[in-house]
């Protein structure tokens, strides 16, 4: 029991220290009732809230249209290039928004809602593939075959067999995508053009550009309430299906008798939508005003980043180091939390709900507000952590934690308790059962969460841009710096580094 307490205490304590505390401190310092009232009655602020909502709903719809068929195809069928497709679909999630945004702009040539939707699809297809994929793989196709044999139409099979099994994962992915789009910052501020403002961009503008921290806090609270409501509505029901007995492997596409093109189209169309901006990045790394030149590549691979004071290897090393630490911290904490939530829910439903609530908070709190909160909270010895380099991967882990839990929890629930009981009956120790049964069955989900945590760390540049660093320039930061300066070589080097980041992320995410 004590170990169990400790296991659920660690993730909660982690979120409490690095998120709840600084956020509450920010509220306590800057909150003002009258400002909040003004914000709620100001028509331009209400327009911002309304725009944030509808663009997010639309973004979710478009994302799902591309992502659900792709998830189906990738978790059911094996074909040459499937792994690369999975990598291509999931890599952009972690790219710096400046890269995706510039890629989208290069193709669409205009700012506005269409570009916002496109960029959001590029980022968020990954969330659905990652979250729903493992659940879908857990559902043995024999049930679908059986239903079909007994005369069920494909639609009936989906509604009665597949949907109940993937529902909780789809709902949780929907809530997550909505939250990311609703609170999206980089995408909106670049491809939205200057007139498209959302709550998060306004929080940043008010607090950082105009110095109206009280207005920013009021907006942050409003944003938090909306996201909490979404999580409340999307809370998975306690009744879960677990119709799993073996882990399935995708079947070869070549044995599928009919309709192979449907599978290929389901994967192909999102791959095209998602990879166009990435291809644009690659093209810009070698072309300048019609000339093709590989000088930027030789410069960057030779170790030099034009105009910057750090070397290529140092920047890549820092990024990899941060992402490795993030992966270790995130996955350990997520495993503890998922274990507690997945297992004893029938005994401690209340405890489970609290755990779920607290570990979701990193999605709820505005990045700019958390950034400011960290700066004003961890500012005195012995807690003067704001200038410590280790805080950066820790904050990355905080941001990755809810996603990792959402990947691990459904997989954990899908493990039939009979397996555990049988193992115990046959004399396996709890440790042995955990290692040989749970970890073994969780392997795909574990790998996915390692991949996504590492990837989130590679691309994060929101909260941590508020932290002070010394000698710890990451790839994302260096890309922003290079693209922020004139000169062909500098610009192209920015795109070279972005291409390297894409390749690196593809590597991390397609292997996992």
């Amino acid at each position: 029991m004590t170990t169990r307490r400790l296991l659920s205490f660690l993730p909660v304590g982690f979120v409490a220290v690095f998120l709840v505390l600084p956020f509450l401190n920010a509220i306590a310092t800057f909150f003002s009732v009258s400002t909040t009232r003004d914000v709620l009655t100001n028509p331009s602020m209400l327009r911002i809230i309304w725009f944030s909502l509808w663009q997010a709903v639309l973004s979710v719809l478009v994302t799902m249209i591309f992502a659900i068929p792709a998830t189906w195809a990738l978790s059911r069928f094996q074909f040459p290039g499937a792994r690369l497709c999975r990598g291509l679909l999931t890599a952009p999630f972690v790219l710096p928004s400046i890269v995706v945004a510039a890629g989208v702009l290069a193709v669409s040539q205009r700012t506005g809602v269409v570009s916002i939707l496109w960029a959001h699809v590029v980022f968020n297809v990954a969330v659905v593939v990652r979250l729903v994929g493992p659940r879908w793989e857990f559902l043995h196709p024999k049930y679908e075959s059986l239903a079909a044999t007994m005369g069920a139409s494909p639609a009936q099979t989906f509604v009665y067999i597949v949907w109940p099994n993937i529902r909780s994962a789809v709902i949780s992915a929907t809530a997550l995508v909505f939250t990311y789009c609703f609170t999206s910052f980089g995408v909106i501020s670049i491809v939205g053009g200057f007139s498209r403002r959302t709550v998060e961009t306004e929080i940043f503008t008010q607090s950082v550009r105009l110095g109206n921290t009280d207005v920013a806090i009021a907006l942050a609270i409003i944003q938090m309430i909306v996201v909490l409501l979404v999580f409340q509505i999307s809370r998975p029901s306690l009744r879960q299906f677990s119709s799993v007995d073996v882990i399935t492997h995708p079947m070869s596409l070549f044995v599928k008798p009919r309709g192979r093109w449907i599978v290929l189209a389901s994967v192909g169309s999102p791959v095209i939508v998602v990879s166009l901006p990435l291809v644009a990045t690659l093209i810009r790394s070698v072309s300048y005003r019609g000339h093709i030149s590989f000088h930027a590549w030789t410069t960057v691979l030779g170790g030099t980043l034009p105009q910057l004071t750090v070397s290529t290897w140092r920047v890549i090393g820092t990024s990899l180091l941060f992402s490795a630490i993030t992966a270790v911290v995130t996955v350990s904490l997520a495993l503890m939390a998922a274990q507690q939530m997945g297992r004893q829910w029938f005994q401690y439903p209340e405890q489970r709900r609290i755990l779920r609530f607290i570990t979701s908070l990193p999605l709820v709190v505005s990045a700019a507000t958390l950034g400011l909160g960290l700066v004003i909270t961890f500012n005195k010895d012995p807690f003067a952590w704001r200038s410590h380099t280790w805080l950066i991967p820790v904050i990355h882990a905080l941001i990755a934690l809810p996603v990792a839990i959402r990947i691990l929890e459904p997989a954990m629930q899908a493990i039939p308790s009979s397996l555990r009981d049988n193992a115990a009956l046959l004399g396996a120790s709890p440790w042995h059962t955990w290692l040989r049964i749970e970890i073994a069955l969780l392997r795909p989900a574990l790998l996915r969460s390692v991949g996504i945590a590492a990837a989130i760390s590679l691309g994060e540049f929101g909260v941590t841009s508020f932290l002070t660093r010394s000698n710890s320039t990451t790839m994302t930061m260096a890309i922003t710096q290079l693209l922020g300066r004139p000169g062909a070589l500098t610009q192209q080097s920015g795109y070279v580094l972005a291409s390297l980041l894409i390749v690196l992320t593809l590597g991390v995410t397609s292997r996992a």
């Binding site: 400046i98 945004a101 510039a102 702009l105 290069a106 700012t111 501020s189 670049i190 939205g192 053009g193 200057f194 007139s195 503008t205 950082v208 550009r209 105009l210 110095g211 921290t213 810009r284 300048y288 005003r289 019609g290 000339h291 030149s293 000088h295 105009q307 910057l308 004071t309 990899l320 180091l321 490795a324 630490i325 270790v328 950034g371 400011l372 700066v375 004003i376 500012n379 005195k380 704001r386 200038s387 380099t389 390692v450 841009s465 508020f466 002070t468 660093r469 010394s470 930061m477 922003t480 922020g484 300066r485 004139p486 000169g487 062909a488 070589l489 500098t490 610009q491 192209q492 996992a512």
Partner: protein, 329 residues
């Protein structure tokens, strides 16, 4: 999976080793921390002379873009993250003064925010290059200029302030009203210069962009070596230049203000000042500093720049930005 964990373990332990060893090195007697924005990229080794002369180590820490840096510094005024602050400019100086952020400060460099033009585009077009702000509202310049959102971008703000200085309070609004259908507003410098502007890497469709008087030398110095430039592809329209001044100062609450003062003095000295043009692309304030050739030839420092006093900016910034938004949105 095993391989992955071995890799993670290896990297983490490597990190542990390197971080302990760097802590050991930092056991030196005295050091001073320079707090700057992310884009602060001084010449490598520039502080070695300072350390040799004074025995004081310089630690450079960066904390976000200039807006984030100043906002953070104001929120933590009195309990700063460093000893010396680099990068308050004249558009933010009054905000810093109100928060008593700095114990003392000095102007450390200047730079001009000006319209840059794509020389090739104008050479192959019937339209002459504009020479003054008033030209921009002539029909032939419709759809040629891209500037930045002044709320989010400092060149965007500089350009807006320049128009206010030029046309005057109460009259600049008319200019912007006329400019409204003629100008494209980008969210930031990167999008404006590298996506929308036709004269640089982006191949966009706007031959005029708001950038810096020092952008042309940067285009030459950092041209593609396989396609070297003897002169820039862009030029600066001098009458549109707004003067930006950056300050360096000792942060209130610095635990080592004597060393901090010494560092500010060094930043104003000839050695550091002469390194700034080609590392930070700004002009020195020290009259003894000699400009590099590239700057003499291609950088523009307006003879009669547009200026607005820091006090006026602080007093009116929010009002101006709101009016601008109301006009342009």
């Amino acid at each position: 999976m095993k391989r992955l964990f071995v890799f993670i373990f290896a990297v983490t332990s490597l990190a542990a080793c390197t971080s302990t060893s760097s802590e050991n090195i930092q056991q030196k007697p005295e050091s001073v921390t320079l707090l700057a924005y992310d884009a602060f990229t001084p010449e490598p080794g520039i502080f070695d002379d300072f350390t040799k002369d004074t025995g004081i180590d310089v630690k450079v820490v960066t904390g976000g873009d200039s807006g984030v840096l100043i906002s953070k510094a104001i929120l933590t005024a009195g309990n700063p993250e460093g000893d010396v602050l680099w990068g308050v400019d004249n558009t933010m100086l009054s905000r810093a003064e109100q928060a008593s952020l700095l114990m003392s400060y000095e102007p450390v460099n200047t730079g001009d925010i000006c319209i840059n033009a794509d020389k090739e585009w104008f050479a192959s077009s019937d339209v002459p290059m504009p020479t003054r702000l008033e030209d921009l509202v002539l029909p032939q310049y419709r759809g040629l200029l891209v500037t930045q959102d002044p709320v989010a971008s400092s060149p965007g703000l500089g350009f807006l302030l320049g128009t206010i200085a030029h046309f005057g309070e109460g009259k600049w609004q008319k200019f912007w009203e006329a400019l409204k259908g003629y100008v494209h507003i980008a969210p930031d410098w990167t999008t404006a210069y590298t996506v929308d502007f036709s004269g640089s890497s982006g191949n966009g469709k706007y031959p005029l962009v708001v950038s810096y008087g020092s952008s042309p030398p940067a285009e030459v110095l950092y041209a593609d070596p396989s396609n070297p430039l003897t002169e820039p592809t862009t030029s600066v329209i001098e009458s549109t230049c707004f003067r930006q001044t950056e300050y360096a100062g000792v942060l209130r609450g610095s635990t080592n203000s004597v060393a901090a003062e010494a560092l500010v003095t060094y930043l104003l000295g000839k050695r550091f000042q002469e390194s700034m043009p080609l590392s930070l692309f700004v002009f020195p304030v020290n009259p003894d500093a000699v400009l590099p050739d590239l700057f003499v030839k291609f950088a523009v420092r307006a003879k009669n720049p547009l200026t607005v006093s820091p006090q006026d900016i602080e007093l009116n910034r929010e009002q101006w930005l709101n009016e601008w938004r109301a006009l342009l949105l």
